[in-house]
């Protein structure tokens, strides 16, 4: 929370009232970093003992689904907060705030899904968050490109949202979810 506030405040001090392309770019980059910081904790903070406890009470698929769900909710909250702060501090060039909000929620959800699974991998590698960035950035670029492209429509009343793009984003999320359920049991065993 403090992280969101501080980041956006620094951006606010550095530039005021950016034009909409810059606004869009900054917003998604901020989202990306918020997501890494929020979600990375979920696996890296778990102690060995607690993992062993979870191991004894639930199946890996349930465990990873619970993690995904929790991180998605967390990220949705964070996304809303950062959208609010962005609009307060940096001005709001949005032509369609409600649809943009929907998109932000969808985007936050996909970001959190991908990074939850990567956090699981990074935790197995016993590394800090740095390896998560190395692993995650190339994977997340396609989704970010897609998100920025779709969200451009929210700034301009003339362009309409394309249903196929949104479906594609949803399909990617479903893909990540299934991959996580299939692959997590392999990471889980010690």
């Amino acid at each position: 929370m403090l992280y969101i506030g501080a980041t956006i405040f620094v951006l606010f001090l550095a530039i005021d009232e950016p034009e909409h392309k810059v606004w869009n770019g900054l917003f998604w980059v901020t989202q990306l970093f918020i997501c890494i910081n929020a979600v990375a904790k979920s696996f890296l903070q778990e102690s060995r003992g607690r993992m062993l406890y979870f191991y004894s009470i639930v199946s890996p698929a349930h465990f990873v689904l619970a993690k995904l769900l929790f991180n998605s909710l967390l990220m949705l909250l964070m996304s809303l907060l950062s959208l609010l702060l962005f609009s307060l501090l940096m001005g709001s060039p949005l032509a369609r705030p409600w649809s943009f909000m929907g998109l932000v929620l969808l985007g936050g959800w996909s970001l959190s899904m991908v990074f939850t699974f990567l956090a699981a991998i990074a935790a197995r590698a016993q590394q800090n968050a740095a390896i998560m960035a190395v692993l995650g950035f190339p994977l997340i670029i396609p989704q970010l490109i897609l998100l920025m492209k779709i969200s451009n429509a929210a700034f301009n009343p003339v362009i309409t949202f394309k249903a196929t793009d949104l479906l594609l984003l949803g399909a990617l999320d479903v893909l990540v979810g299934t991959m996580a359920v299939i692959l997590f049991p392999f990471l889980w065993k010690d």
Partner: protein, 246 residues
Amino acid sequence: MKQPPKYMYRTWWKLLCVVLLIYTIVGGLLFPVPDLPALEETIRNLYFHVCMWMAMMTLFSFSIVYSIFYLRSFDLKYDIYARQFATTGILFGLLGYATGAIWMSYTWADPNNPVFKSFGALAREPKLIGTAIALLIYFAYLVLRDSIQDMDKRARVSAVYNVFAYAMLFPAIWIIPRLLPSLHPGQEGNPAMKPKDIDSTMLMVFYPAIAGWTLLGIWITTLKIRLAIFRENKLSQNQKNPLSDS
């Protein structure tokens, strides 16, 4: 003792590879090509540039297949295969960039501007971004793999990442470029893959060229795999010897 699979020792496909590549180079440089504006003779690069990407994708696909084999059997030799296929894939990706850069400097670059200056504009190409992502992912795979000490855990974690990355990557490099504006051919489908897009004499060189370069990639990889397995066996023997002496 680990043993490389039998197909790596067979000679027929290596001979086929050599023959196909000689045919590609001779035919590619000598056969007539259609004279198109702006492309002219540079179209001959099709036999090299596009084939590099085909070979790269095939090698990465081999890599993921072996990663899945590893996850099913937990046999460490599959892990070695997956890694070697990934590195050769990276090599072919870099070669694809190199051939693409040569081609680009004759066709896309503004003749009034030095190539270096127009680079920023050209690097925004979605296909270039897509491949940059692919290469970064596989570099990340190597980094991840080398950062873990324990052999079994290293194999398992990197295999999981390989599968996950491949599943995320391939939709991305096939779908995203088609959504963004591009100078690169192939906006509407698979470039040069539909027979009607391409002159029939060129097809006669193009298909063998793909096969030849891909086989070359597999050949290089099998040599590397054999070397890696040899090194591993040597290492385990060295570890055993002091015990057996005492």
